[in-house]
Symmetry: C2
Subunit: 212 residues, 2 copies
DNA sequence: TAGATTGTTAATCGATTAACAATC
DNA sequence: TAGATTGTTAATCGATTAACAATC
């Protein structure tokens, strides 16, 4: 089954639908309407229906979508069959918080290790995740078949570390540093710049204030 | 000077241009071409020129843009004249990391306080930022004229806390919880869902692997 | 039946990019 | 001049939404 490549935004929303559906299912609900899902995410019902259409799932006119079936379908699409291993690179406050945040949350995406250059941190265990020395990166990534890295090193180290990650065979990077990274085409890169996000909020708050 | 509302994406990029320009300026460079800025951010030169056009700035054919002038112009657009106060709500690991991350970084956006319900945390100081009890939120937000909140409470508390923030008069929220929030129209909301981000990376890494 | 819902196409909206005149 | 660059319009691309037939 080779689904055509789903739009970026749809993939993000599928992950969010799943998150909500799991809560909903634990609540004992068996069916859900597109407008219910939409309401929770503040998007339109049409968008929900269209996303669900894109993954080839259908509901019923009477009761909407079967929660369990939809959950299964979404998981089939966005989950990895065997599971995928993730490492956190840079165990500062942010790296530590991220390890803690994900620890034990998702079953198919597991943080299996962390890396740091600080000898103080190396060989310690953070929320069940062992910290290795950065110079063993290549070795461990290859041996453990790790696919994804979350990058939380200081800005000055970001470029050099990215190069090492790519050389080691990492396939995807989630970048939390403020440095825009350079990666070859076969590596999927997702950047999150917290400063831009906050400045964007500030900009629109300011606009709002002026218009009033 | 009422600039027409800039596109969301342009505002984000302006913040990124500024970040790069500051580094570039410290490097002693006085001028920069659109393709140089573009290269650093992996976008097209046209996009850079268009964004710069939208804020009404111009460069020269010979030397591109004057770094200092452009910096000033961008700051004029996205910065707040008087400065804007920010609080972090929820001083867990993530909240603490964010306080630390921003501390001393931006001059116009300052984290002036944090809130938590845990008596252990209240009245302590994190990276220079005092932590107040959550029930003083309204009082302090009003007294200090705080505009923006970064929300890092546990998922279960997200909704209730958001309501309190809105009631207290917060104008913008940067939401780091996995709960999609409900806010009135006059409050600007920016959500960041780390789990969706990571699952998106996993999805495209998986796709890549299959196609090969 | 009347009302509510899904599934899907076509239209719209917003953002990016191609094309190119102007000019140093 | 030839080459490189900016500024800007028009075209394109991608994502969202409006519209509506089908149907329980």
């Amino acid at each position: 089954m080779t689904t055509t490549r789903l739009p970026d935004k749809t993939v993000e929303r599928l992950s969010q639908y799943r998150h909500l559906l799991m809560a909903y299912s634990n609540f004992g609900k068996q069916h859900i309407f597109s407008h219910e899902l939409a309401g929770m995410l503040h998007i339109t019902p049409v968008q929900v229906r269209r996303d669900i259409m894109l993954i080839g799932h259908t509901g019923t006119l009477r009761r909407g979508y079967d929660v369990r079936d939809l959950l299964k379908r979404i998981s089939k699409i966005i989950d990895v069959d065997i599971g995928m291993k993730v490492v956190v690179v840079g165990v500062g406050l942010m790296g530590g918080a991220i390890i803690n945040y994900f620890s034990g949350k998702r079953s198919k995406l597991t943080i299996v290790g962390a890396f740091d250059i600080d000898p103080e941190k190396v060989n310690r265990v953070y929320a069940g995740v062992p910290c290795y020395p950065a110079d063993k990166l290549r070795e461990i990534v290859r041996a453990e078949d790790i696919d994804i890295a979350i990058l939380t090193v200081p800005p000055a180290d970001a470029e050099a570390m990215t190069e090492k990650l790519v050389m080691a065979g990492i396939k995807g990077i989630l970048n939390f540093t403020t440095i825009p990274l350079n990666v070859p085409e076969h590596v999927y890169l997702e950047e999150y710049n917290m400063i831009s996000s906050l400045e964007k909020v500030a900009y629109f708050v300011k606009k709002q204030k002026i218009n009033k």
